[in-house]
């Protein structure tokens, strides 16, 4: 990996949560580097700290100790406004439960991140149509999320994540609510995006179907990295 640009770096990352009178340590001194264009994933059983790690990388949460650098910004010292700015410009999220805005159409859901970036209408339209083309949902542009299948919803979520061409996409269990066929379709789409746009992907998963696609697998158990292996594509 030497010579590649570091997009994310965690240094002795610790995250603790209050649990009644006690504290639960979700991450125990995690040291990791993610490089530009990687198609990597944090794998491990439920409760191993995968989502917590992704949330901190995504600036949705802060470390209890240690440090996290995302695109040269220290997450622990980011103001809420700067964190929101970082997310809106450089980070795309894909959630297990899709998290589409229910009253928006497919087109409007995909357009939403561009509205936050205050892009002009013409440019927004061009980018939205391109993103929908990418995920093969151009013909469902006017549908509401409630009219789509689970696979289609997740493809909309992918389009929403990639439409602003972010540096980094964080995908938290993206196939957990999908059947095998849809999962395969979704993952193929992501691989294509990674290869053609050079977008960095970090997954959090314990799904074997996803793990097979990953080019770097970081195994997390009880909040600690127990393995970090690259796979030949």
């Amino acid at each position: 990996m030497n010579g590649k640009q570091v997009v994310v770096e965690t240094i002795d990352l610790i995250k603790r949560y209050p649990m009644g009178r006690q504290e639960l340590t979700a991450l125990k001194g995690v040291n990791l580097k993610f490089y530009r264009g990687e198609f990597s994933g944090v794998v491990g059983p439920s409760g191993s700290g995968k989502t917590t790690l992704l949330n901190i990388i995504g600036t949705l949460d802060t470390p209890s100790a240690g440090s996290v650098r995302v695109l040269n910004e220290r997450v622990e010292s980011l103001s809420p406004r700067r964190a929101a700015d970082l997310r809106s410009r450089f980070i795309g999220f894909i959630f297990q439960t899709f998290n589409l805005l229910p009253v928006y159409t497919v087109y409007e859901n995909v357009e939403f991140p561009l509205l936050l970036l205050k892009l002009p209408g013409k440019e927004r339209r061009k980018k939205v149509l391109a993103a929908l083309e990418w995920v093969g949902l151009i013909d469902r542009a006017n549908s509401k999320p409630s009219q789509l299948s689970g696979g289609e919803c997740q493809r909309v979520a992918i389009a929403r994540a990639v439409v602003k061409e972010p540096e980094l996409i964080l995908a938290d269990e993206p196939t957990a609510n999908l059947d095998a066929e849809n999962s395969h379709h979704i993952l193929s789409t992501m691989v294509k995006l990674n290869q053609e746009l050079g977008t960095t992907f970090i997954f959090s998963t314990h799904d074997e179907k996803v793990i097979k696609f990953l080019l770097r697998r970081i195994k997390l158990v009880d909040g600690a990295v127990v393995a970090d292996e690259e796979v030949k594509g």
């Binding site: 949330n55 949460d61 929101a84 809106s88 999220f93 589409l100 805005l101 009253v103 939403f112 936050l116």
Partner: protein, 389 residues
């Protein structure tokens, strides 16, 4: 921009709930504007009636006269000074002589105030022309309430009793020459109107009067000895005070309505924020700041106020136009304690309508904002998982 757009989308997406909330708030809008318009109408009509029938453009009271103290009536009469007499002669004022007395009719003895007034006056709307009588009987004019109380009609006879200036007890038969319909109770109940000259003659008070009413628009002469001028504003102050007390009751009603409508918005907001916590998490993850999310929810709530104004205008405008044109029947209007017509014509001003709309919009925005403060405490990671703080 996106917060506004999203807010509008959410309102549209909420469908019937949005309309129901808007409708509930619009009821408060219309009720507030209606009750305020009604009070304004009552106020205006009552003031108009009092000016037309009793107060005119202000009154001179002779020294010692206090309309609230019957003990002053016996000696409350003075010869008109030249300046006032000139106004009366030229028709710019009307003199009224007040003499305490009683009426005996159908076996009933009723204390009254005998009031003498010029039969040719045009200052007040009292139909004094009916007091012109050549039959030899004393003609009297009664208000409808007084006639009802005495159980008499036009051309019925009654006996008037009074003390003349020497204190001698006198009595004469009088004929009811007319019965007037008026909303002004103070010229009706307990009052018997008769020609000024006749009353002055009966009481031995020729050339004297108790009260002189100026025609509206006539400037009162400067200080006149033994006569004190009271402006229309002063004379109306009792009525205004009374209306103010009635307004308190009305205000309580509309405050309750208003609070209920605001509670509906507050409740909707609390429920909406709770139900959409995952959406809130998503918006924050997509790059919206908490402030923008709060602005979005607040805007959504404020839009209920706009929707309510729109809905209220749809059914309120024809309703108000109809009421302005045809009035509103006021059963038992005489019991209000002040001049009230049997039909009230509410009066709405642009200021009242605009002020109410602004008030409701501000209040709706404020109650929409209150629940959104919880978003500040909501962790996006919890929100994304549907957890609540």
């Amino acid at each position: 921009m996106s917060a506004v757009k999203l807010a509008l989308h959410n309102l549209r997406g909420a469908g019937i709930r949005t309309w129901l909330n808007g409708f509930a708030l619009s009821l408060a809008f219309v009720a507030i504007i209606f009750s305020q318009g009604l009070l304004e109408g009552v106020n205006r009509q009552a003031e108009r009636a009092l000016i037309d029938f009793e107060f005119g453009g202000g009154q001179f009271w002779c020294e010692g006269f206090d309309p609230y103290n019957p003990l002053t009536f016996d000696n409350a009469h003075r010869v008109l000074p030249e300046t006032i007499a000139h106004l009366v002669e030229s028709g710019q004022a009307v003199a009224i002589l007040v003499v305490p007395g009683t009426v005996f009719v159908r076996g009933k003895m009723v204390p009254v105030l005998l009031k003498g007034i010029s039969t040719s006056q045009a200052v007040l709307k009292i139909p004094t022309a009916v007091l012109v009588d050549s039959s030899g009987h004393i003609p009297v004019l009664l208000g409808a309430r007084m006639a009802k109380k005495l159980n008499v009609g036009v051309d019925d006879y009654l006996t008037l009793h009074w003390h003349d200036k020497e204190g001698t007890f006198n009595a004469r038969e009088a004929r009811v020459a007319g019965i007037m319909q008026t909303s002004v109770g103070t010229i009706d109940q307990g009052q018997v109107w008769l020609p000024l000259k006749q009353l002055a003659n009966l009481a031995g008070l020729e050339g004297q009067a108790t009260v002189v009413v100026l025609k509206p628009g006539i400037k009162p002469p400067p200080a006149v000895e033994a006569w004190k001028f009271h402006t229309t504003e002063f004379l109306l102050s009792d009525l205004r005070q009374m209306i103010k007390t009635k307004t308190v009751g009305q205000s309580i009603m509309f405050i309750v309505l208003f609070l209920l409508a605001l509670l509906a918005i507050f409740d909707t907001q609390v429920f909406s924020i709770f139900r959409r916590r995952r959406e809130i998490g998503t918006l924050i993850a997509l790059g919206m700041t908490r402030g923008a999310v709060i602005a979005m929810f607040t805007f959504e709530g404020a839009m209920y106020g706009v929707l309510a104004a729109f809905l209220g205008a749809i059914y309120g405008t024809p309703l108000f136009l109809y009421l302005s044109a045809y009035g509103l029947a006021m059963p038992g209007g005489n019991q209000w304690g002040f001049a009230l017509e049997e039909r009230m014509y509410p009066a709405w001003t642009a200021g009242l309508i605009f002020g109410t709309i602004v008030l409701v919009l501000i209040a709706a925005t404020f109650v929409s904002y209150l629940p959104t403060r919880r978003i500040l405490k909501l962790k996006p990671t919890d929100a994304l998982r549907g957890k609540w703080v």
